[in-house]
């Protein structure tokens, strides 16, 4: 039985009906057309569905939509300010931190959570933090360098 659900998505309030087994990923992609977060595995392993829940990274494929009532969700769509890219987006783009790009929305959100909590991470900390985001194209090195470059202030807002 569907229930009403209100939460804040990328800064705007959203009111929807969600089924009890519907995940946040289903809700975002199929109901709301927010297709930035991708479905790579639907069981928490790949990380491409990563979004921020009250600023913390979570797997939207493992999050039952109804549990986010009253919370704030940020997806990759909420990163840029209009046409002005977030420094991480700029760094990923300019440094080629992806090939197919399917992992990128999740990578960006994990990276944002990292830098929000730890603006000057060591390489080791970046690697540890990003270890849950798989990139089958193997862009890991460029991802790490892009995050490091943003932390070093090379990509100002």
């Amino acid at each position: 039985m569907k229930e009403t659900l209100s939460f804040v998505l990328n800064g705007s309030p959203v009111d929807v009906l969600a089924a009890p087994t519907e995940t946040l990923l289903d809700l975002l992609r199929e109901q709301l057309g927010v297709t930035g977060p991708k479905r790579g595995c639907d069981e928490g392993d790949c990380g491409t569905c990563t979004v921020l829940l009250d600023g913390q990274p979570v797997r939207s494929c493992l999050t039952i939509a109804l549990t986010v009532a009253g919370k704030e969700i940020t997806t990759v769509e909420g990163l840029a300010d209009g046409r002005k890219l977030h420094p991480l987006q700029k760094a990923f783009h300019e440094r080629g931190a992806f090939q197919c790009g399917f992992c990128t929305p999740g990578m960006l959100m994990s990276a944002k959570a990292l830098l929000d909590g730890n603006p000057n991470p060591t390489r080791r900390e970046i690697v540890d933090h990003m270890s849950g985001n798989l990139c089958r194209c193997g862009s890991y090195e460029e991802v790490i360098e892009a995050i490091q470059a943003v932390a070093n202030g090379e990509y100002k807002e």
């Binding site: 992609r29 199929e30 790579g40 790009g101 089958r136």
Partner: protein, 446 residues
């Protein structure tokens, strides 16, 4: 323009990926779209004795069902032209498609799938190539006499040769033998197989595909749908990783048939588990080598027998056996080579192309052979490779003439990167200049 060569440029479409605006196939959500879930075989081998889809069809929210009889054109596809979209009767591998249910959402379609009434007579499967070649082995293709692929009618071994290996072995002071095997592997692109199909404003069947090779597949799809190619709009280009796994049709056929039958936009996507368990894989190779070499390290003969596990259907595997034969002697000049390739069907998901398709499966064993030869002859492994490396003008087993050879230059670069100092006489070599002792490759007359 040449000022850009060698420069690292930001991607022209990179902002799309970095903002999440790039549309991958599964990102298309169309008004009135319906969803597919499939019934797959729970057994590795068997015969469908009974299939009743009515309970699925009558499930509230189910738009309809599909099985073999709903294929409008030919119920066969794949590079081998032997794989049914939905198997009508015989099951060749666990996970083979039997039927599909189309519903207003995936949960509903799945509810329908769970209600399908099916009875399968299970049979003994065979998974191992050598088991499958035994005379009394279970037959993967019930209408055949053996599990060997026929390259030509009655011909189950693809032979290639240049020179005469027996003559070559007669000149050799050392014979080195070995058996090598490479395993199965999944491509595991981050984007699973998915397809979105609908009838466009001109009544053409539009399909958003994850295909890596639209023009391998368009003809196959036209045959499946019974449509001329002009009636199919095959839209691709944005692929979330493929690595060779998206050279085979995994979802477009089912989505297309459903869109044609029900006249609604259709989405069919494999789950990660379906993708991992049942999609095509890099297939197993087993290779037996016998290599003849002179005391001075000159390779004079290479006899290779190879077996390639095709899985349940032909796919690209027969070609893979041929391609592997071509590359299994490595980038080395050997005047006498004979390869014998066989492709074997087993009750596993089909094999398909994957990165460096069938090439490394032959190059890895050849390098192992060189390793053993270096030990056996006491010749330095670098030396051994340099003196035998292809030069322009050499010929490989399929008798093509090598142009633009680069093994020597690649090895010099590798040595440099690894901090290894090569002796002067090796550094003096290059791929453009043939060594004096290496005459014209024997002209071959069949």
């Amino acid at each position: 323009m040449t000022e850009y060569v060698g420069m690292s440029m930001p991607r022209y479409d990179g902002v799309g990926q970095a903002t999440g605006r790039t549309k991958y196939v599964d990102d298309f959500v169309l008004p009135g779209m319906v969803y597919v879930k499939v019934l797959r075989s729970p057994v590795h081998k068997g015969v469908i004795r009974h299939l009743d889809l009515s309970a699925a069809e009558n499930t509230p929210g189910v738009v309809g069902v599909l099985s073999a009889e709903d294929v409008p054109g030919v119920n066969l596809y794949g590079a081998g032209g032997d794989q049914p979209v939905f198997t009508p009767e015989h099951i060749r591998y666990k996970g083979e498609l039997i039927a599909a249910v189309v519903g207003v959402d995936e949960d509903t379609a799945m509810e329908g799938v769970e209600k399908i009434d099916i009875q399968i007579e299970e049979q003994t499967p065979v998974f191992d190539m050598f088991e499958a070649m035994k005379p009394d082995a279970p037959l993967v293709r019930p209408d055949s006499e053996s599990n060997l692929w026929e390259y030509e009618p009655g011909q189950t071994t693809r032979v290639m040769y240049i020179g005469d290996v027996e003559e070559g072995f007669a000149q050799a002071e050392h014979i080195v033998e070995g058996r090598y095997q490479t395993g199965e592997q999944d491509h595991a692109p981050l984007e699973p197989h998915a397809s979105v199909a609908y009838l466009d404003e001109a009544e053409r069947l539009a399909i958003h595909t994850v295909s890596q090779c639209l023009y391998f597949q368009l003809g196959q799809l036209a045959a499946i749908f019974g449509l001329p190619m002009s009636k199919i709009r095959y839209i691709g280009g944005t692929v979330g990783g493929g690595f060779g796994g998206k050279n085979h049709i995994h979802a477009d056929h089912v989505a297309g048939i459903a869109a044609l039958k029900f006249g609604r936009p259709v989405k069919y996507r494999e789950t990660r588990r379906e993708d991992l368990q049942y999609s095509t894989k890099r297939g197993v190779f087993i290779l037996d080598y016998k290599t003849g070499v002179r005391d001075d390290g000159t390779l004079v003969a290479n006899h290779i027998k190879l077996w390639h596990d095709s899985g349940a259907y032909g796919g690209f595997s027969p070609y893979g056996g041929e391609k592997c034969s071509m590359f299994a002697s490595g980038p080395y000049h050997i005047p006498n080579i004979r390869t014998e390739a066989q492709t074997i069907l087993t009750n596993k998901a089909g094999s398909s192309s994957m990165r460096g398709f069938t090439i490394m499966n032959g190059q890895f064993p050849m390098e192992m052979q060189l390793h053993k030869i270096a030990e056996e002859t006491g010749i330095d492994p670098w030396e051994l490779r340099f003196i035998n490396a292809w030069r322009d003008g050499d010929k490989g087993v399929s008798r093509y003439t090598v142009r633009g050879a680069g093994a020597i230059e690649a090895m010099k670069k590798a040595a440099d990167l690894a901090g290894i100092e090569l002796p002067e006489h090796l550094l003096a070599m290059d791929s453009r200049t043939p060594p004096p002792q290496r005459g014209e490759a024997a002209d071959v007359v069949d």
